[in-house]
Symmetry: C2
Subunit: 149 residues, 2 copies
């Protein structure tokens, strides 16, 4: 079969792409009540670990371009979740910090990871098997960071 490789079933990327979209979809029931999207949730995760970071650091941790993160942060500022202030030493930088609302949302989001785990277990079964993918995904991601340069 000359075109065997072009069959959809043989495509790893298609599976990653689909799994990522569906997983994001599984966050919807928990993020909608908070009024945030999944990428916004990721930004909050970063800021909850360490508040007051420049745009670049956030983008780097999320493996996103700043031209994706900037509008994301602007929407989050509009929603009252973060503040963006000019950097003191380097005035080119925009330091992103959590507002009271952003800080308080951490408490409301506390149980989201376990809720998601429960949802996945319910319909899929094995958390162990899924967890085994993590080191492989990390290697793949590190390799692809090189490829995409």
């Amino acid at each position: 079969m000359e075109y065997e490789q072009l069959k959809l079933d043989n495509q790893l990327c298609f599976r990653l792409y689909t799994a990522a979209r569906l997983t994001m979809g599984a966050y919807h029931p928990y993020l909608d009540p908070l009024g945030i999207t999944y990428p916004q949730y990721l930004v909050l995760l970063v800021l909850w670990e360490q508040d007051k970071q420049p745009v670049n650091d956030i983008a780097h941790k999320l493996v996103l371009e700043t031209n994706t993160v900037t509008p994301l942060l602007q929407r989050m500022e509009k929603a009252g979740l973060v503040k963006r202030t000019k950097g003191k030493e380097d005035t080119r930088q925009r330091i992103v910090s959590l507002t009271k609302k952003g800080i308080e949302m951490r408490e409301q989001a506390k149980h989201i990871p376990e809720c998601l785990s429960a949802d996945i277990i319910k319909n899929e079964g094995s958390v162990e098997e899924i967890s085994q993918m993590i080191p492989t995904l990390d290697k793949l991601i590190e390799g692809l960071k090189q490829t995409n340069n």
Copy 2:
């Protein structure tokens, strides 16, 4: 640590999301010369397997909503890759078929899967390890299809 679970490193979804984006990025060098995007490439994969399918079938195979696929197909029609004709038995349907250009692109795309494998091997190492994720991803995807209903 009360908020341990909220650390980014513990998030499976973030890895899927990042791996999917970076893998799509790895297709760029091969899809750009053909003038198509990754989702458009997926549509072509589906049509190369079987030509002349209604919008619904394509959307279902790609696990996408029709309101994502319809504009995608409209752009592909504009680019001269597919034709969209009214269904004969069911006139609500739009049957999507490949144009000459769409058919011929299969030949040009023939080596993309092996090129991508090569790229991944180069910077990551083990195709075996990555291939092992496939059955797990399939189970995850099937489970999430249930969850997201």
